[in-house]
């Protein structure tokens, strides 16, 4: 075997230029596919992260809440429920929310708005909501003040220190109405939410909606996002059918659909690239085999079995493939790591579209070792397929005709 390995390795370098072209093709395919996919996955992760900041990884509601989001379908924010959720491994934070739609009014104008009762500190720990303050300050948990979105403030011509009037329907048809001083104005990245959101301390929201000790959702943060489905299943079995358990991808399916489109686009692009590179490699290896028919015949004549010659050819493909993959990875991996820590900042419309989704306006590359392994494996398979044709040529070859 040692002899065959030596022969294969030296054979690779007998047509140096041709081998270099094959190696460059392989390395190129690896670098391009890994870079492209890392960028897609990095941005995808960023979108998911931004989406999850709004809804949490998992939410617990009362049964059928999500469909209508009615103020009458509320959860009792009791210790028993909290303890049950906390007993599940991987849950790190439970963030209660109470949301309802109301009419918000300033001096002369009014607008439909989403009143979101939050536990400010708890919420901030999860999604840094307080960092979005552009004017004034965030309320404390016992405060009777509200924070409103920048767009809504502009529409209602209100600012910090002014009073916001809210009127709506509270829990079980109670009238929800009140006047609340504005302690701060926040900028919400999502333009739709930026013109309708009102943050209110949870206790004040419960009072406003006459829903004392209640909340519409318990938003969960978890230790490892890959455990989302496992935790969701455990919650379903532990809490029973009176509760609705929803994961982030069920609540914001548009992000998941976006990721699926990305995957399809990447699959098409990479397939085209691999086909082009693959045909190039296969053509080169077939040419290499046809040129050496006489040599193969001579080797058989002097006593090399067909299987041994086929092993040499197979080893040549294997060595070319592995060398190309190593070269590709040794360029792609440091590049990915550099880009991961130095993302490309976006400006103009590109930046706006990212901000609209609540994501930082940067092109973020991801570090995905599984992707590196997958791309390397695909190229490796192409090389193995490429070696099958010369192996077949040797199989059919007759010594007397070859020499």
């Amino acid at each position: 075997m040692k002899q065959l390995i030596k022969l294969a390795w030296r054979n690779i370098w007998r047509k140096r230029k041709r081998s270099v072209i094959v190696l460059v093709s392989i390395a190129f395919a690896i670098i391009i596919t890994i870079s492209l996919r890392s960028l897609m996955l990095g941005n995808g992760d960023k979108m998911v992260e931004a989406g999850v900041k709004n809804v949490g990884y998992i939410q617990v509601h009362t049964a059928d809440y999500w469909k209508d989001k009615s103020i009458n379908d509320l959860l009792l924010d009791d210790d028993k429920l909290i303890d049950k959720i906390n007993s599940i491994e991987g849950v790190t934070q439970i963030i209660p929310r109470l949301q309802n739609f109301s009419l918000a009014a300033g001096d002369k104008t009014s607008k439909a708005s989403l009143v979101l009762g939050i536990d400010g500190d708890n919420e901030n720990e999860f999604n840094k909501v307080k960092d979005r303050i552009v004017k004034g300050s965030f309320f404390t948990s016992k405060s009777k003040k509200v924070v409103i979105a920048e767009g809504l403030a502009k529409y209602l011509k209100l600012t910090v220190g002014d009073t916001l009037v809210l009127i709506g329907q509270g829990y079980q048809a109670n009238v929800a109405a009140g006047k609340y001083p504005i302690s701060g104005i926040v900028k919400i990245p999502n333009p739709q939410m930026n013109v309708m959101l009102v943050y209110m301390p949870l206790s004040l929201a419960q009072e406003y909606n006459s829903a004392f000790g209640m909340c519409s959702a318990l938003m969960l943060n978890i230790k490892d996002k890959s455990q989302t489905n496992r935790i969701s299943k455990e919650l379903k079995s532990k809490l029973g059918s009176n509760y609705e358990i929803m994961t982030w991808d069920e609540m914001i399916p548009e992000i998941l659909n976006g990721l699926k489109i990305d995957t399809t686009v990447f699959t098409l692009l990479s397939s085209c690239l691999f086909l082009i590179v693959g045909f190039g490699i296969i053509g080169t290896i077939i040419m290499m085999a046809l040129e050496r028919k006489k040599e193969f015949g001579m080797l058989q004549a002097i006593g090399l079995q067909k299987s041994q010659i086929q092993t040499v050819i197979f080893l040549e493909s294997l060595m070319l493939g592995i060398t190309g993959i190593i070269i590709g990875l040794s360029i792609a991996i440091p590049f990915m790591i550099f880009m991961y820590y130095h993302p490309i900042p976006l400006t103009g419309d590109g930046a706006k579209s990212f901000e609209a989704m609540g994501a930082e306006p940067i092109m973020q590359f991801g570090i995905k070792p599984k992707l590196w392994a997958l791309m390397s494996f695909i190229v490796f398979c192409i090389m193995l397929i490429a070696s099958l044709l010369p192996i077949q040529i040797i199989n059919k070859q007759k010594v007397a005709e070859a020499i």
């Binding site: 006489k294 004549a301 002097i302 006593g303 090399l304 079995q305 007759k398 007397a400």
Partner: protein, 227 residues
């Protein structure tokens, strides 16, 4: 004792279309240490006969016995192994492996036979010295002249001490000096090693040096004379 015995050997090409009798009912025998030239015009069937004797082609009918063993009945794999252990080949185009040095080319078959390194090295040194290329041991074929390459090919053919060596027009691409050198070497090794040599040729200088000359025409033996 006969090393090679061929009985009623026949090779017909294009049997189903326009049949060509490349070897037509040939029976011959070769003794140990023979130095035989098979002579004939192009297309007379010399190469086909050598291919059949060397087991790199299969006869349409008839048998080839080597050391009493009917090799015509061997499977492809067994025949390849038999060639490796019993037959040496010298080709017209030298056919050395371009990526191996002279030494590596000579020891190639012994390595396939898994002979110990010491034994291989000793044998290679002896042979390369015999053929006058001890100083070219680490040169690749591209750095050697045609004559030198053919001498290395002869050394490779003899390295594993085969029963006989088949050489198909070994001097066809050589100048007269290289031809003379090669013939000297082949003769010397034939004597020293006791290996049977059978070669096809057009070259009168080669024929003159042969101990036995078989004249071949239209796939048949016309004359068979020993000197």
């Amino acid at each position: 004792m006969n090393v090679i015995e061929i009985k009623n050997l026949r090779k017909i090409y294009n049997e189903k279309t326009v049949p060509v009798n490349a070897v037509n009912d040939v029976s011959l025998s070769f003794k140990a240490k023979e130095f035989t030239a098979i002579v004939g015009a192009s297309g007379s069937g010399k190469t086909t006969l050598l291919n059949l004797i060397g087991g790199i082609d299969t006869p349409t009918s008839g048998n080839v016995f080597i050391n009493g063993k009917n090799v015509s009945e061997l499977s492809e794999n067994k025949m390849t192994q038999f060639r490796r252990d019993n037959i040496g080949f010298v080709f017209q185009q030298y056919n050395l492996l371009p990526v191996l040095t002279a030494k590596e080319n000579v020891e190639f078959i012994m390595e396939l036979q898994k002979k110990p390194k010491e034994e291989r090295e000793k044998r290679v040194t002896v042979l390369l010295t015999e053929i006058g290329l001890a100083d070219k041991i680490n040169e690749r074929p591209a750095k050697l002249s045609g004559g030198q390459q053919q001498r290395v090919a002869v050394a490779r053919a003899l390295a594993h001490k085969p029963t006989f060596v088949i050489a198909d027009e070994p001097t066809a691409n050589l100048d007269s000096k290289s031809t003379a050198d090669l013939l000297n070497i082949m003769e010397e090794l034939n004597q020293k090693e006791g290996t049977t040599f059978i070669f096809s040729t057009h070259d009168q200088r080669v024929v003159d040096r042969a101990k036995r000359v078989i004249v071949f025409e239209d796939g048949k033996v016309i004359s068979d004379t020993s000197k």
